[in-house]
């Protein structure tokens, strides 16, 4: 076979794509449809407690169109990192949605399921064997971290997908995997050059993100040949040019020249990007260097505490002119009140933070401009070991804060505008990413479990 044709349904399952674009993409005779369903963009919450980033309705809408198109063309549909963090329960949830769709649309297929959640004893064993290594800027790791994580997933490479496809899976739903592996598996199975395959997969995994101007999420199409791959958006309103495709290597990647995968590193130092039409780009020259040791990246989340917050705004120029000292006094008074109500020892059971919108709320300690304007927004934030405690502490903070005085005024003032009644909002459990490490397994499959069913 001289060419393999890939369709990416969208950059993330549930974010949507145009039905007519997928129809048009299907006229290009793709060999499979892939779609990434995961992200860490939105933070640790989704790995921490397994909520999904989009609604069931959004997942079902996208997956329905993908499954109908794939079954009609008798080609595989491959979904990775279901659905958000790639935990086992999130995978099971998307499998249930797939079954519902199959029933409603009278579809039948062999389903391969890849589970990516990690066994704690296995990880501890590898840690003791020094076969877990830190990546950039890692938090400290010991066995206690593994124990207190609510969920730990491993990022699968292409191999579990290849295994499922090899066993005849017509639809694959996988837990956490590298985004590119979803698109690399089938081309690698068919023997295409790994440099081209991984480079094409990197462009494809974000759907239409690599077009010149992405107005809404949509599908993407690529054809990998012997010496190059060509990428062309199936939506006629979209176009790619060499710079838009080259620029995509910059996106959410620390370097545009290297992409680390479980089985090796793609480097694009010698890549060439050439326009083949007003809308399509031919890419060549990406090199894949196999790793000496296969590695599986870990993602973990642990409970950071429970939070209550209060949102407020300050407009009085007299307060704003002495904002720093006023706020400092307020924080001190709030902590003293908490100590008076809850007794000694309480200071070790909570953390009190204030965010100042209009000063450095976006950039925190990276901000060098600490000037303020005609009003500031405040978020008071209490983090404690239980929600009950966080809520109770916040009630004390709220009352102290709203009447905190300035020396210029005599009499009781109300110094903060609270937009809500009650002022306190309860955020529930908050999580923290606690791993930036890779494991060296014996084989690419040993950290993943595969399961098959006929739907």
């Amino acid at each position: 076979m001289s060419e393999i044709r890939l369709v990416a349904a969208t950059g993330m399952l549930g974010s949507g794509f145009r039905e007519e674009t997928l129809k048009r993409a299907m006229t290009l005779n793709p060999d499979f449809i892939g779609v990434d369903a995961g992200t860490t963009d939105a933070g640790p919450h989704y790995l921490g407690c397994e909520e999904t980033h989009f609604s069931d309705s959004a997942y079902k809408r996208d997956l329905r169109l993908i499954l109908i198109a794939a079954r009609a063309a008798r080609i595989p549909a491959i979904v990775g990192s279901a659905i958000t963090a790639g935990t086992d329960n999130q995978v099971r949830h998307l499998v249930r949605i797939a079954r519902e769709i199959a029933r409603e649309e009278k579809l039948s297929f062999k389903l391969g399921v890849v589970y990516s959640e990690q066994n704690r004893d296995y990880l501890k064993k590898r840690l003791r064997e020094r076969r877990i290594r830190p990546l950039a800027n890692p938090p400290p790791l010991d066995e206690a971290v593994i124990d207190r994580s609510t969920h730990i997933v491993g990022l699968a490479g292409a191999e579990p997908y290849m295994e499922a496809l090899d066993k005849g899976a017509e639809v694959v739903i996988s837990g956490r995997s590298s985004d590119t592996s979803i698109f690399a598996a089938m081309p690698l199975m068919r023997g295409f050059d790994p440099g081209l395959v991984w480079h094409a997969a990197k462009v494809m995994e974000c759907g239409a993100a690599s077009v010149v101007l992405r107005k809404y999420p949509d599908c993407m199409f690529a054809a990998i040949g012997k010496d190059s791959f060509t990428i062309e958006p199936p939506n006629p309103d979209y176009r790619c040019d060499p710079v838009s495709i080259a620029s995509h290597n910059l996106y959410e990647n620390g370097t545009p020249y290297e992409l680390v995968e479980p089985s090796g590193v793609l480097n694009t130092y010698d890549a060439k990007y050439e326009a083949v039409s007003e809308r399509a780009v031919r890419v060549s020259g990406g090199q894949f260097t196999p790793a000496e040791r296969y590695t599986v990246k870990l993602e973990g989340a642990e409970l950071a505490g429970y939070q209550s917050i209060i949102i407020g705004a300050v407009r009085d120029p007299i307060i704003l002119r002495q904002f720093d000292s006023w706020l400092e006094g307020l924080v001190r008074a709030a902590k003293e009140r908490i100590l008076a109500v809850f007794g000694a020892g309480i200071e070790e059971k909570y953390r009190f933070d204030v965010r100042v919108f209009g000063r450095n709320a976006a950039m925190g300690r990276l901000e060098s401009d600490l000037s303020i304007g005609h009003e500031v927004g405040l978020v008071f934030q209490v983090t404690a070991q239980t929600q009950e405690l966080a809520a109770a502490l916040m009630k004390s903070v709220g009352h102290i804060a709203v009447h905190f005085p300035v020396p210029e005024y005599s009499g009781l003032i109300t110094s903060i505008a609270y937009p809500y009644s009650p002022a306190e909002l309860h955020r529930g459990a908050c999580y923290r990413f606690n791993l930036n490490h890779v494991v060296e397994p014996d084989t690419p499959l040993e950290m993943f479990r595969l399961d098959y069913e006929t739907v």
């Binding site: 860490t40 990647n253 620390g254 060098s368």
Partner: protein
């Protein structure tokens, strides 16, 4: 004197995973990119000063294929942690926008 935003088609910041933060400046054309690149205008010392960091943690990468300069730093706090201010890392590029360029 032009400002960086006037000669760029995109200035952005974004997480590169939950532990790193990356900034992209994609220039409108090759000529101005090469001018800014060769003048060393966006360098580790300047960036560190602007973002209250030490220059050793600032990685500057010139990317000719897209006429772009990338800056990557460790995230000051893990994405979504209790003291994080920007979970996606998308609003950290502000101080770059009005940089004066020749």
């Amino acid at each position: 004197m032009a400002r960086l935003w006037q000669v760029s088609k995109l200035i952005r910041s974004k997480n590169a995973g939950p532990f790193e933060l990356t900034f992209d400046v994609i220039f409108k054309d090759r000529e101005i990119y090469e001018k800014v690149r060769d003048a060393g205008l966006i360098n580790a010392e300047w960036f560190a000063r602007t973002y209250q960091l030490t220059p050793e943690v600032v990685q500057i990468i010139n990317y000719d294929a897209a006429s772009a300069i990338k800056i990557t730093i460790p995230r000051p706090t893990i994405s979504g942690d209790v003291d994080d201010t920007d979970v996606f890392g998308g609003q950290q590029h502000g101080p770059l926008v009005d940089l004066e360029v020749p």
